[in-house]
Structures are given as structure tokens and as C-alpha cells.
């Protein structure tokens, strides 16, 4: 157990996060085949197809550790991070202990439509779970870190969207929580801002927080991870950093090869 001083220096205690045999199922709406005869199908044109993207995943993320997650299909990372952030309760298995978490995802443009950058800080932070009082307390700090202190009254639509992504990242790392889950937001923002992201993760790690991050398209974070979770096909491998880096590289190459092959065959 370590002490995490995230954000304003208020100490929060992080504990190891344990996922035990976690399974998550999803339903996909699928269209039924064409009906017999000429009559169009009137009732029940679609049906629900159940599948299990996450099956029996066990993982322990210790305080002061960064866990990297890579999924070759690119879809299951978000689910696993949501389970770790306790936004989503798994259908089977457990996540213990229950701690305050931050799920830092890419903000959508809808979030900030019609708002000023100052208001965007409030909405983006609020949607991530920061209370009004916490936002007030950290407002100036977030604005300064995101590089928008002098643009607070500018409409968010008139500035590059990377500024809003920077707001989300800066607000996320300042949340007084024990577990930080980054969903393809490492690194994020403009090219000038991106180099600031990884040192921020180091700070969180040093403060004793549990950090989990999906790699997404950008692989910079993989050099920072202490452990990796590689999801390929039905198997999930838990790897040390070096192995993880190599495996991710191999998985990416395999994926590119498959894409090229599919393009060539025209499918």
C-alpha cells in the first residue's frame, strides 16, 4: 500500500487492484437474413447475438505500476479498462478492492459544442467524475497545464480540437483517485504537448497510483509500462516489459500484413 498525492497534494491511498476471472459479454444487433417469398419481413428484422470479448481475465495491478494493454482487434482494451475503472461491472468474476478511479478517454466534439474553453474544462472534468468543488480547486492548474490560460473565453469550436484533448488529459491526471485508466490517450493533444504526457505518467507512478493504459495506434507508452497484457485471439498473455514490446511489435506487423493481404485480395 502506498500513498498517492495526485492533483492538489491531498493524500489518497492506493491499493493493488485485483481482477479475478473477469468475463464481460456484449450483445451485437444483427440483421436477419432475407425472408422467404416477396413479402418484406415486418416483425423482428434484427436479433441479438451474444459474444464474450473478455473471458476469465485475471490481473493484479500494484500501486506504482503501469500496466499496458494491447489488443490486436483494438476493441477489448476499452472494455477491460472500463472494468478496471469500475464503470462497467463484469458479468463474471470480480474487481477488488473498490477504489476511486479515473477513466480518461478521448473527449468527443459533442462534449464541448457551444462552450468556451473555460466551460469545457468544467464539462470534460465533470464527465470524468470530478466534483464541482474539485474542479474549482484545480481549474487554474488544469488551464495552465493544458496551455489555455489565456484562451478561456474562446469558443472551443474555434480552436484546434487537440486543446480539448489536452484539457481532458490534464484534468484526468489531476483527479484525486487511486486508479488511472487511460483509454488510447497516451500520448494525446498537439505535437508540442505530447512529450508532456509520459512524464505525467511517471509522476503518477512515483506517487503510488495504479495506472493502466491501452496502447491504441501510438506505441510510445509501451516503453513506460512495467507489465503488459497482450490480447490476441482468445488468448491473453501477461508479459514483462521487454517481451511485451516485442510481442506488440510482432502483433502490429501481423495485423499490417493481414490488412495488406486483404487489400490485395480486394476483400
Amino acid at each position: 500500500m502506498k500513498r498517492s498525492n495526485a492533483g492538489d497534494g491531498a493524500p489518497v491511498v492506493a491499493q493493488a487492484l485485483m481482477l479475478t476471472k473477469v468475463s464481460v459479454g456484449v450483445y451485437t444487433e444483427k440483421k436477419r437474413g432475407r425472408s422467404r417469398g416477396r413479402m418484406p419481413k415486418v416483425l423482428g428484422a434484427t436479433y441479438l447475438d451474444a459474444s464474450w470479448p473478455l473471458q476469465d481475465i485475471s490481473l493484479t495491478a500494484r500501486p506504482g505500476e503501469v500496466v499496458g494493454i494491447y489488443d490486436a482487434t483494438g476493441q477489448r482494451e476499452a472494455l477491460l479498462l472500463r472494468v478496471m475503472a469500475e464503470i462497467l461491472r463484469p458479468d463474471k468474476g470480480s474487481v477488488k478492492p473498490s477504489q476511486r478511479t479515473a477513466y480518461i478517454a478521448k473527449p468527443s466534439k459533442k462534449h464541448v459544442r457551444g462552450l468556451s474553453l473555460g466551460q469545457s474544462i468544467h464539462v470534460v472534468s465533470g464527465l470524468m467524475g470530478m466534483t464541482d468543488a474539485e474542479i474549482e480547486q484545480r481549474f487554474d492548474d488544469i488551464a495552465a497545464a493544458a496551455g489555455i490560460s489565456k484562451k478561456l473565453h474562446q469558443p472551443a469550436e474555434d480552436v484546434p480540437f487537440s486543446l480539448v484533448q489536452q484539457i481532458a488529459f490534464c484534468a484526468g491526471v489531476r483527479m484525486p483517485v487511486q486508479v488511472y485508466c487511460f483509454d488510447q490517450t497516451l500520448p494525446t493533444g498537439s505535437q508540442e504537448f505530447k512529450p508532456n504526457c509520459l512524464p505525467a505518467i511517471n509522476e503518477l507512478r512515483d506517487s503510488g497510483a495504479v495506472v493502466a493504459a491501452s496502447l491504441g495506434k501510438s506505441g510510445d507508452i509501451r516503453t513506460y509500462v512495467d507489465r503488459g497484457l497482450l490480447m490476441t485471439g482468445d488468448s491473453v498473455l501477461e508479459l514483462r516489459t521487454t517481451d511485451f514490446i516485442l510481442e506488440v511489435e510482432a502483433a502490429k506487423k501481423k495485423k499490417q500484413k493481414q490488412r495488406r493481404k486483404a487489400r490485395r485480395s480486394g476483400t
Partner: protein, 281 residues
């Protein structure tokens, strides 16, 4: 492996407490919605008053002049009676109609946000409430104008029931929004149902008729199974207290029906929370 239980998320802090802690964010989200809706019009927020004003005016013309009388409705002036029904109805209709899209429109936000899932139907209801507040000057304008010209309607102490009407309608709208938004996640047909539901509230509530118009064979309490009936009584109590207010029993029934709708809505939403959190995957 064929059945997936879609467990709801484990509540960490009470949803009500969490919503209270995020009231600033919610208020900004509602303001954003208002800005997006009315920001593109030249007359802006004046449109919130336009619709109930024009609708009441047309109905008044049709009933009072074309049909020649407002037979059966003894409460004068009739246009004030109409407008005190139409403005709250607009709030209820907006909440019902928009609730089906509460999660579809913001599926990614709802899936990834730490706010409780009830925040999204609540946003729809609060938006309708803001519209309602902005349309209230229409009622005030009609009341003052008619009072100056005809001496009616006079305002009684029962005006204190007005906030009670707002309070009860808020929970009615929220309950219905929770039910419909949860149903719409799996059943797109609910969108068609909302149109019927809005028609039900228009025709089955005393918007253009009075309780006394109903035949005596139907007991009064039956009418109050429609909770909007009791709510409209509270709104109108300031102007016609002796005519619209009934015994406390029917209002207890109204409150009970609203409570049932809210509980059912909360249960349905809680059961569907797992689905909402994986909607974009």
C-alpha cells in the same frame, strides 16, 4: 454461454449525492443544449414562448369563436385556462419525446462517463424544465392582460401550490424519461410509443376540458390515475381554487402514481446500466 447477465455497475456513492456534487456540470450541459437548440435562430430563446403562445391563441380562436362557445368549461378566461395547461404539457411532451434519444445521442459519453447513468435522462428533463421556465412569462402576460381588461382571473393564496406542481411534474418527467430511455436501448419502437403517450397526456388530462365534464358514473379518483391531472390542478389552483382543487385523497393518489413511475424507471435504468456502459464497443 448464451445468456449474458448485463450486471449493473456497483454503486460507489449514491446517485443522488453524486448528481448533487456534479450539479455545476449538469447545469452547463443543459445550458449547452439550450444554446445548441436556440443559438441558431435569430429570435433565440424567444421561441420558447412562441409555441405555447401561438397554440393557446389558435385553440382559443377555434373554441371561443369558431365553435361559438367553450361549452362545459365554466372557468374564465378560457385562454388562461388553456395556457396554464399547455405550458406544463410542453415540458412533459419534450421530456417524453426526447428521452428515447437520451442514450443514443450521447452513447459514447454515457458509456465512458463516471456520472451516474440517470444523468442523461435527467439532462433531458432539465432541458424541458428550462424551456418551461422560459415560457412562464406567456402565462403571466395572459393573466395580467386579461385581469386588466376583464377583471379576471384574480390570483388567490393557492398560488403556493404552483411550486408543488413543478416539484411533482419534475419527478413525473424524470420517471417517464428513465423508463423510456431504458426501453429505447433495446426497443427502437419506443420512439413511436412516445407520440401515443403524448397524445394520451393531451387528451386524457384536463388541458382543454374540465374534470366536471366527465360523466358522474366515472369516479373522480379514476381520472387521477393519470398523474398529470393532479399536477395541472396545482398549477391552476391560484386562479380557480374552488373549481379545480379536490380532496387530499386524489393528490395522494397522484403522488403515489408518480412514486411508482420513478421507482420503476430507476429499476429499469439500473438494470440497463451495464448495457449503456458497453454501448459503443
Amino acid at each position: 454461454m448464451s445468456v449474458i447477465s448485463q450486471k449493473p455497475p456497483r454503486p460507489r456513492v449514491g446517485a443522488t449525492r453524486s448528481l448533487f456534487q456534479h450539479r455545476g456540470t449538469l447545469s452547463l450541459l443543459v445550458r449547452q443544449e439550450l444554446k445548441q437548440t436556440y443559438g441558431r435562430y435569430k429570435l433565440g430563446l424567444l421561441w420558447t414562448m412562441g409555441e405555447p403562445f401561438v397554440q393557446a391563441l389558435f385553440m382559443w380562436i377555434v373554441f371561443a369563436f369558431i365553435f361559438g362557445s367553450t361549452k362545459g368549461i365554466t372557468l374564465e378566461p378560457f385562454i388562461v385556462y388553456l395556457v396554464t395547461g399547455l405550458v406544463p404539457l410542453a415540458w412533459l411532451s419534450a421530456s417524453v419525446a426526447k428521452s428515447t434519444k437520451a442514450f443514443r445521442r450521447y452513447s459514447k459519453d454515457a458509456a465512458t462517463s463516471a456520472l451516474p447513468v440517470v444523468a442523461w435522462p435527467l439532462r433531458v428533463v432539465l432541458y424541458g424544465f428550462a424551456d418551461f421556465l422560459l415560457a412562464l412569462p406567456v402565462v403571466v402576460i395572459f393573466v395580467i392582460s386579461f385581469y386588466l381588461f376583464t377583471g379576471e382571473p384574480s390570483v388567490h393564496w393557492q398560488l403556493v401550490y404552483f411550486p408543488l406542481g413543478i416539484f411533482m411534474q419534475f419527478f413525473l418527467c424524470l420517471g417517464l424519461a428513465m423508463i423510456l430511455s431504458a426501453m429505447a436501448l433495446r426497443l427502437p419502437d419506443v420512439e413511436r410509443l412516445t407520440a401515443l403517450l403524448n397524445r394520451f397526456f393531451f387528451w386524457m388530462s384536463p388541458v382543454i376540458w374540465q374534470t366536471r365534464n366527465f360523466p358522474d358514473v366515472i369516479p373522480t379518483w379514476v381520472l387521477y390515475l393519470n398523474p398529470f391531472h393532479g399536477i395541472l390542478d396545482f398549477y391552476r389552483a391560484a386562479f380557480w381554487p374552488d373549481d379545480v382543487l379536490k380532496g387530499p385523497g386524489v393528490y395522494i393518489l397522484t403522488a403515489a402514481v408518480i412514486a411508482v413511475i420513478c421507482v420503476v424507471g430507476a429499476m429499469m435504468l439500473h438494470a440497463r446500466a451495464g448495457l449503456i456502459r458497453r454501448a459503443d464497443v
